[in-house]
């Protein structure tokens, strides 16, 4: 077999393999998006409806409207407890504020580690424990502790624990950006007469800003989709979107696929947009200095 033919075959093989996985990835996503546009009778139809003849926006209208649902007969859906807009607000508040803390403190800590070694590399790895030990093992006493402090079911309570559990990622990721900035640039600014604060503000910060933004969005993804802590520490008042979503799942008669899908699409869409936006930096969030550039 000549070289060209071999290469061509390998090429086809590659595209074939990639396309198979592409289908496996895309089909569930297609299905939930499609379901969100299906009218009620298509939800459980057999054979399944792959392409609805009568797409509708009704699911979105119903789910994202904060009033009780009107429906034609069938099961009684108890929707009074679901308040997606409120959950959206909660989710936004909690994830943005906690991300702000994690990234703000993480930036200062990362700068100190990168330039003054205020934490040794060993300590930096130990910091990962905050993330790696599963939260379920402390969440019960934490909820009791929170309840005595009146932090249970509050935004503050979730913000505190989210800030702590995302800090390791934040520090490591921002440190990787600062490490890439040559020390000489800072020294050049200083020998030209810039104070340390000035150097930070005018030289360091602008140069790592895009990295900090990427870190912010990365951590936002983590906090936005967190479920266990939110489920136990918030429940009613400040239920986040994932918790709100899971309420549909609980009851047997609560299988309202179209509605769930409409809610799910709304919850996931911002994350996908953010993730695609920062896709070049995603690897950094997990690489902990193991990928040398």
């Amino acid at each position: 077999m000549n070289r060209n033919l071999k290469r061509k075959l390998a090429q086809y093989g590659k595209y074939f393999a990639l396309s198979i996985w592409a289908l496996i990835v895309a089909f569930p996503i297609y299905w939930i998006v499609a379901t969100s546009f299906k009218p009620d009778r298509d939800w459980f139809a057999w054979p399944p409806v792959y392409w609805s003849e009568e797409p509708t926006l009704n699911n979105y209208a119903v789910v994202w409207a904060d009033h009780k649902e009107e429906y034609e007969g069938g099961t009684q859906y108890s929707h009074s407890m679901q308040k997606p807009w409120k959950a959206l607000r909660n989710s936004l508040f909690i994830s943005v504020i906690s991300t702000f803390f994690a990234v703000g403190f993480g930036t200062i800590l990362a700068y100190g580690v990168s330039r003054y070694q205020i934490l040794s590399e060993g300590r930096m790895f130990q910091l990962l424990m905050l993330r790696m030990v599963p939260p379920i093992v402390i969440v019960a006493p934490l909820s009791l502790y929170y309840s005595t402090l009146h932090l249970l079911d509050t935004i503050t309570g979730l913000v505190i624990i989210y800030s702590i559990t995302t800090l390791p990622y934040s520090v490591w990721m921002i440190k990787s950006f600062i490490d890439e900035l040559p020390l000489e640039i800072e020294q050049a600014a200083m020998i030209l007469g810039a104070s340390r604060l000035r150097t930070l503000w005018e030289i360091v910060f602008p140069l790592v800003r895009s990295g900090i933004v990427a870190t912010f969005l990365f951590i936002l993804i983590l906090t936005w989709s967190e479920y266990l802590l939110a489920l136990i520490l918030s429940k009613t008042e400040v239920a986040t979107l994932p918790v709100e979503l899971s309420k549909y799942e609980g009851s047997v008669e609560g299988r309202v696929y179209g509605r769930q899908a409409a809610l799910a699409v709304g919850v996931t869409l911002p994350l996908i947009a953010i993730g695609i936006f920062i896709r070049k930096h995603l690897a950094r969030g997990f690489s902990f200095g193991m990928v040398k550039r």
Binding site: K14, L18, W21, V25, A26, P28, I29, W31, I32, F44, W46, F105, I108, G112, R115, Y116, I118, L119, E121, F125, M129, L130, M132, V133, P134, P135, I136, V137, A140, P141, L144, Y145, I164, M190, S195, R196, L197, W224, S225, Y227, L228, L245, S246, E249, V267, T268, L271, I272, G275, I276, R279, A283, R284, F286, S287, F288, G289, M290, V291, K292
Partner: protein, 341 residues
């Protein structure tokens, strides 16, 4: 304690000199060095004290409470928790001899190992196919990272919609194999854990994929080209050059994924709540059931303690391994830098 973060920044003001690679190298300190060293120390401790205070304030009482409950019989039905009766090691005995916990641990290990291998093999395979630029690379890359960006609860949902008995997956399988396929993905105790595993793999292949893509892209080209010219086949290049250079990244991908898989809760819980029977009772779900469904707070606490100790040991080991890999990597990297300088 100084209010944060403004004061930490203002401390930086005193450190007007440049940061240097060593701050404590001198044997005889002079005033300027002393001032700087003090400023660095102040900065260091004002930052670290915030961290330490927060961690102690949050984690210490939690661990104390957990310790208290582990030695006092308390459940929500038993009056005020501070009046609970001291029971000594009774709870720990109960926990250690609880076969359900044993099974939960086995299931968790099985689940984590299986899904870690699944994620890694598929993710690494895709990365190997994709790390060199080609037409459509960006398209496939974006598509392949989508599952990771999806909220786990949504994945559980989607899983249910796809996998229920009269759902599209059984329908598609039927038309592929030309006969009626009727797998009870969601109701069969034998396959329930496998179902969660499939969802976990679908969810987290992107994680391995992204890390391995980055690792492969960061490999130096020249040693690989050199090996090819010296007559190594693709396979030998892979085994002798690429794989050893990738080892730290591979170790990282495996360890992180394994630990996250041990902690997996949203999908297993919202799809199965531990059932059918106790087929999907993993460590997190069983702990959740004991504490929040049986409300056996004390047993949950004692159990948490046991798991916490095991996990801390595992995580410390993992950290040790990661550090060793990092040090090895730094050595390779530094020696390379020296020869080019």
């Amino acid at each position: 304690m100084p209010p944060f973060p403004g004061s930490a920044l203002s401390l930086l003001q005193n450190m007007n000199s440049s940061p240097t690679s060593n701050t404590n190298g001198s044997t005889k300190s002079r005033p300027r060095q002393l001032v700087q060293a003090r400023a660095v120390q102040r900065f260091k401790w004002s930052v670290l004290s915030v961290l330490i205070v927060v961690l102690v304030a949050v984690l210490f009482p939690v661990l104390m409470l957990q310790l208290y409950f582990s030695f006092h019989g308390y459940s929500v039905y038993g009056g005020s928790w501070w009046d609970a009766e001291f029971v000594g090691l009774e709870l720990f005995e109960e926990v250690v001899t609880d076969p359900r916990l044993g099974w939960a641990i086995i299931r968790s290990l099985l689940f984590a190992t299986g899904s870690t291998i699944g994620c890694f093999v598929i993710g690494f395979g895709l990365a190997l196919l994709m790390y060199r630029p080609f037409r459509g690379q960006a398209f496939y890359y974006i598509l392949f990272i989508l599952p990771m960006l999806t909220v786990p609860i949504v994945i559980a949902y989607t899983g249910e919609m796809l996998l229920y008995q009269k759902g599209p997956v059984n329908d598609l399988l039927s038309s592929i194999f030309g006969r009626q396929v009727n797998i009870l993905w969601l109701a069969n105790a034998d396959t329930a854990l496998l179902t969660v595993m499939v969802l976990e793999v679908w969810n987290w292949v992107p994680f391995s994929f992204i890390i391995m893509m980055a690792g492969l892209a960061a490999l130096p080209d020249e040693p690989i080209e050199a090996a090819k010219i010296l007559g190594a086949s693709k396979w030998r290049v892979f085994v002798e050059i690429q794989l050893p250079l990738l080892r730290p990244v591979i170790v990282l991908a495996l360890i992180l994924r394994f630990l996250e898989a041990i902690a997996e809760f949203p999908k297993a819980w919202s799809l199965f709540q531990g059932g059918p029977g106790s087929a999907t009772e993993t460590i997190p779900t069983y702990l959740y059931i004991v504490t929040w469904q049986y409300f056996e707070i004390s047993k949950g606490a004692a159990m948490s303690y046991v798991i916490l100790l095991i996990m801390v040991a595992i995580v410390l080991l993992a950290i040790q391994i990661l550090r060793r890999e990092k040090i090895g990597l730094d050595q390779i990297y530094d020696s390379r830098k020296e020869t080019t300088a």
